[in-house]
Amino acid sequence: MSAYMGKLLYVDLNKGTATEMPLDPQLAENFVGGKGFGAKILYDLLPAGCDPLSPQNILMFMPGPITGTLAPANRGCVVTKSPLTNTFADSYFGGHFAQEIRFCGYDGIVITGAAAEPSYLWIDEGKVEVRSAEGAWGLDTFAAVEKIREELGDISVKTACIGPAGEKMVSFALINCEYNRHAGRAGTGAVMGSKNLKAVVLRGSKPVIPADAEAFSAAVDQAYKELAEDETIASFTTDGTPASIDFANDEQLLPTNNYTDGAFEGAGGLNAEAQRKHFWLRNVACAGCPIACGKVGIIKRGRRKGLVTDVVEYETAAMVGSNLGIKDIREVSYLVKKCDALGLDGMSAGGVIGFAIEAFQNGLITAEQTGGLELKFGDTATAEYLLDAIAAREGLGDLLAGGVKQAAARLGGGADQYAVHVKGLESPAWGPRSVPGMGLALATADRGGCHQRAFPILYEVGGEWNGVEVDRAALKGKGEIVAHLQNYLAALDTLVKCDFAAYGIRDATYCRLLETATGGSWDVEKLMALGERIWNQVRLFNLREGFTRADDTLPKRFTEQPLPEGPFAGQMITLQDLDRMLDEYYAVRGWDEEGKPTEEKLKQLGLDQMPKLV
């Protein structure tokens, strides 16, 4: 017995067929689950250079081997080739959807092809059906969930769906995993839309049974204890992620007016205190999570009175708030909920709108293209107009629907200086100019500008590494920190961990959970090797797609335009700085100067002779 369900479900939407395949033991042993399964399957089965929006692209929903158990806070990920970046993309989601995949009896769902008509996939206790989505097509994500529940006559089904933006294949469309839980980044929703797939709906009751139930329960209790004793975890429970608004603002890391600054005068209107005051009513958690960083409530007063909204988590509070110069959390909440309903990634949306405003201010976008509307910071109407236009791909919205990289290329005239992205993925809400390690993390993240693959800020701002205080401004040593964090987090992304729980649960405890669940033997060294194997596997994918050292870079805003004011005024990460860090990083990784894994490294990781999946 093992916590693996022992099967992957392959769905071919071209033919409307579903096939259960036994889980390959080598896949389980070397790649474990989640990101690992996605990395191996995408590399082996996707033809090089495949158009991400073509039927051949592969869309996967991957839980991990402890997802669906009582082990606290585990999730799932969507893995595909991104239409926004053309890289490997893994996008993580909470809620209850990943668990239900396991209760349906699968260790993952792999979808290829495209349906002839708008459809949804209904997986009910091992019965798989491609159904017409005629009644749900065109609906926003909230209405689509309701419609499908109504049609199936059960409010307990678990749904992952796209909104109008996904249907229109907006490059930064998300997949909604009801409610306020999303596979948000890198355009997974566009891939789903390209397959004419409105939703995947699940209902299952198969039990997940650990290999050693008693020892697993003991490991679960240990994880619960570690979470209960951790101060950072306590802060997530009390204040959610908006607690980071104050920290980021103090440290000049908060994106403000399209990253022109790192501090925002209106930060106090966006933080946990402001959110609590205006709407929080209660804590909400994803499946099996004792932390409960969600805070649902109803806006009490003002023009958004009555709006039911979850916490505006840090990233969107910053990207749609400070980055657009909006000071009132109620307005931000309204806009973020609009993103959720339309099925747009709020983070990228904030980057795209910030870009558009700056391009407008500099004459690259004109009032003729906006129906006379002046695009400006601090203005809800600007954001609202652009969100609607993007989701519908109307006029200027169509130009922006490909993300800032593509929009800048189409506008020309130096628009790239306002396009804040890495590899096409709009940067997350951590301006890196005064924290070069974070800059390196963004430049080398596998799916483009992402803070979740490594977050060295924790060490650069008053932290220690191997017992030594980290010099915030230093370039030396950052490569090692970033590579280590990337490997560790890639390993945990096989489980699939929650980023926040990982602050509290120790590495040895994750190992114990994994080995008692699956029956294998795990220690921290093996865990780190797993992470490194996956990181290299993904690197091989991106190299095959044509990415080079030149793509491991940062936008001009961070390399050429220094922070304008405050304690870190004048700081930026020049391309020379970045080169020095990249040299060290590649060396630590055992990659050559071009960022390619050496044969020796591949051999060490067992990737040189790994059998190909068929």
Binding site: H96, R282, A285, P290, V308
Partner: protein, 143 residues
């Protein structure tokens, strides 16, 4: 006399209660096999735990043609004698909250209060599930 109470204002909807319960009741983690339910409403603004309250006048017990269900004089817990149960399903139909169902062996299955230390309460970090002890008529103490 002991029973469970669930609070909608505190329940985060995480379902750890159902995971812990199903692991004991069904030998594996699966919320739909748990002996309690959680319903989420209005974009998760409300999460409503639904538990067996060990009724004073248990419909499940009263509807059983084989006297396979009894209420403990000591604890008030309503228990199924699986030896006697024929799996006729009368009790399943009788309970308006669907708190009793047939297990994989075809026998009636319901919350037995984990012999006085409910696992659902143990894993309910937000303390939305409470073990309530009723000492005498009218006197209720929350543990």
């Amino acid at each position: 006399m002991i029973y469970l109470r669930g609070e909608f204002d505190l329940c985060t909807g995480c379902g750890a209660c159902q995971l812990a319960c199903s692991n004991r009741a069904a030998g594996g983690y699966s919320p739909r096999l748990a002996r309690l339910k959680v319903f989420s409403e209005n974009e998760n603004l409300v999460n409503r735990p639904l538990v067996c309250t060990q009724c004073e006048n248990p419909f499940c017990m009263n509807s059983c043609p084989f006297d396979a269900i009894s209420k403990s004089d000591l604890t008030g817990v309503v228990l199924v004698d699986k030896e006697t149960c024929t799996g006729c399903g009368n009790c399943v139909t009788a309970c308006p909250d669907n708190m009793i169902q047939l297990d994989s062996g075809g026998k009636a299955d319901k919350c037995d209060m984990c012999e006085g230390e409910p696992l659902c309460v143990k894993y309910c970090v937000p303390q939305a599930l409470k073990l309530v002890e009723k000492r005498e008529a009218g006197e209720v103490a929350s543990k």
